[in-house]
Symmetry: D3
Subunit: 212 residues, 6 copies
């Protein structure tokens, strides 16, 4: 099985090319190949509907490319699920957005699932001081629990890998988003199902010009 | 007052430039100037989430251009409201999508408002045989009423100008979409309000590359 | 165009007669005539369902009078919208209640719109100490924002004219209620639509005795 | 215990005075006295929001009279519950509307409870041809069941006494409205509870003029 | 009329046999006979879905026994309503759960009804120190009111008899659960209705083995 | 990884013992061991809330047994999810019900997911005439699609293995229930998360007697 992770932001330096996704390997089966690729146009990070809108057309293009190149499923690596619905119309393979996947799975774990973000830390700075990010995240988690959340989901795919530590220190489950999206993609391929063409009908042929 | 109507599709032939919107004049006050402009990239018509996604970034660009060029409000001329929420984040003037505007106003007119489309007629063919389009639209209206709609809204801005005839032949009000969106835009400017920055926060500065 | 503002409370001293509405002029077009009239029976102010119930039949009567006397639309000047639905059944012209109009328009401005009232100040005392009223209103606005409101609406038509100052001092839009209702009424007349007779059917003829 | 049934329509001929309610006796305990009284102003029957609005102030007046005259609870005999909420604000005894009471009790009996009315028969003609009324009612019941109702409620208090026959001929329970409202009123008095003053606060003192 | 109260917990000492319910007498008519009986298997108290699940099959058995022995209705004496829906499928007489009955009746009394429990006091200790239980309950009531509840319901049938005192000391009505359930049961029998067989269809015959 | 499939019905003949689940093997990884076991008491099939209630305590017991015997997760093989919530309170490993798992996953595939059952064929007869069952199922699927379903889920675990054929002949995805539940269980173990103890708190120690 081959899954393409579309990273819906501009590449930092040389990371833009198609590459094997190391961070994904721990979540999927040994026989599942996971590659990842950045979009060529769009924003450097996604933190608004504005960013989401700027990234979406280029996510769709990568999904079309993935289908043509034999991938069995696509994961869009961003908790705003940019371009996911449009991509489902365009292709016949599963297209998984981590927000939708995580909120569905988290609802099996507990009532009132909420996503959490380290308040005041922009996406592009999350890796600068991991401990500060972790503490901000933990604080956000405790606030969410106090306000009624009984299951949590990491609010940004840039936070991958932190869930495990948080899980140990909190009384509620915290779902890793990237991993969950990959597992759902793998599951749908194994179950041999894809999205409904009643919900996501194939767009009709017409003139469309997307630059770049 | 100056309102810009953004037509979120590729121009047919030479219609792409900024121009005075003749069809809009009958809806607004004499002292309200309405111009219209097509987007430069995107689809030839919008009939899917896919088309919406392809058009949205270029709608946002035109909204930014409108604000810089002294327009008081923007109307996006498509019943899928492409790019409307992203544009509200980007600019400080009102950005009106006809779907949202019409469904809100229609709810004042009657219960369970629904949009209607002439079934089986693609957007680009709606003007080929106006009578056929009208009859298909009327049939859709009657079906919607039978299924519980008590107020109707034209489902495509390409249908502008037909509402009046339909209103005469049906027992429920039919709202003209383009006209309603223009009136709501004019009203918000008159009332000196614009969108909440809590709901539509200004996107942070960052690297973003949109080709074209 | 002629719009009648029905003030659904007893007149103070000699204000009960039909009169030109000065406060309305700043909201509508120069060619729109706005008159206002009080009801002849009912409460001195409306602050409960009890007051609303006592005013409603007399609002309906005034709406019937307005239609017979050539008015194109009616606005009921109270944020409880007393008698609005019954009046829509009785007449064929638009009948606008500011609550419904404002909550619909505010939802275009921001998420979770809420009405605000100056706590602890009865309607009949709102004009006694305008600064005190303003400060109480601002406090209510800040509380509403803290509790999640992202757009606000003046909670009483007696507060007309204060929205503008509040708009300048707050981070969310505050909708003027009387003005919004007038603009929506003017818009519906311009768009040549009125309420659905499926939702608001004409009451059948029968014996009805309303004293006074 | 003394319960007053307020009949919120004009009396036919001499029936307007306070009288012992014979039809109510079969539903309540022998030691519960049930009187009934018509309103003095309002419509001859209630079939619209318009009628409801015209009746409501006079229902409230009778509820106030009932409390002053030692009644323990009030039932408003109409499935539109006219004036019920205003009356709860005005008095401290339970005020029961049959619509609310029946829909609550019917939800204990089955899913998706619906009210049924004999289509095409005005309220004032329901007693002209009882068999015709019954057949129209049965037809309405069967249609409601086909559309998903699993419990039914008589849609007009003028239909009192028919539920029993319908219950025998249908597969779902049919709730008698007048009887149910009386039983709920009796129950609340027995349980020594009345409406919340947070939900139905006492209206403040002010000038109010209701003619008649 | 004969009503059986099923106490869905293990009997303490010799209380397990069928007995006349003294505590129920104050709620029902003198001619209504109320007996009560414990289940033979299950938990000592019900404080979790786990307890509810362990009790439910044995509640259903007692309901079947009640119907065979001439009871007109059944009340399950626990605010989790264990086995109520299954029992309605099994028998043709009304089966009343106090949670459902109370939340329906409380919604007539005020908005946003909530159940209250004395925090930190397990069911089996509620009778150890009645004053402590009462104070904990009152505190829970005040918290619920502060959070928006406008009507309250006792959260455990073991708290029967305390509602009256609480009613006197609070500004919102507090519904006694056991009494309310009994009154609703009596009412349904009087009204000659029972649960819908569309909602609660008779289970088909098949092999079923329940030990004990 | 070891998953226990609890079959919540009485064993047919000798099938009641713990056994390796052959039908499950095609869904899980080669290194995942799937065993299955029937409950010892309860119904022969589950087609009502009554059956569900009779099976639930014995499902919980098996889940407790599974945890004690080193299983990593439990799947309850019935589309009514009997005992699932109680079992989650009792144990610390994931407990998956196919209804919840399938409706969550199906919502990723398409709008308005519905379960389908071959109308008129009791569970115990589904295997008697597979072609008849298939045709009845297909008819149910077509009806569901006509009524608005855009994704489907097999309505009974006894239908396992039919989804694939149905998927080929219909325009919407049909989710295999048993397989989906197993994949979700495997996924949660891989992701190292389990149910929230805020949502499913550990039941307190107390006397509980369950016969058998």
């Amino acid at each position: 099985m081959k899954i393409l992770v579309i990273v819906p932001i501009l590449p930092r330096s040389g990371k833009g090319k198609l590459r094997s996704s190391d961070s994904a390997k721990r979540y999927v089966r040994p026989d599942t190949q996971v590659d990842s690729i950045n979009i060529e146009y769009g924003p450097a990070s996604i933190e608004s509907v504005y960013d989401d809108t700027m990234a979406a057309p280029f996510v769709v293009r990568k999904a079309e490319w993935a289908e043509k190149n034999g991938y069995d499923a696509v994961v869009v690596s961003c908790m705003m699920d940019p371009g996911v619905k449009a991509a489902r119309e365009a292709v016949d393979i599963p297209v998984i957005g981590p927000r939708e996947a995580c909120l569905n799975i988290a609802s099996i774990l507990g009532s009132n699932p909420k996503t959490i973000l380290p308040r005041g830390i922009p996406v592009l700075q999350m890796h600068d001081d991991p401990e500060k990010t972790y503490q901000a995240l933990k604080k956000a988690a405790e606030k969410a629990i106090q306000e009624g959340a009984e299951a949590l989901v990491m609010g940004c795919t840039a936070l991958s890998g932190i869930a495990e530590r948080l899980n140990k220190e909190l009384s509620v489950p915290v779902l890793e988003n990237q991993g969950t999206a990959l597992k759902v993609a793998e599951m749908l391929v194994d179950l041999k199902v894809t999205h409904s063409k009643l919900t996501y009908p194939k767009p009709s042929e017409k003139k469309r010009i997307l630059p770049g």
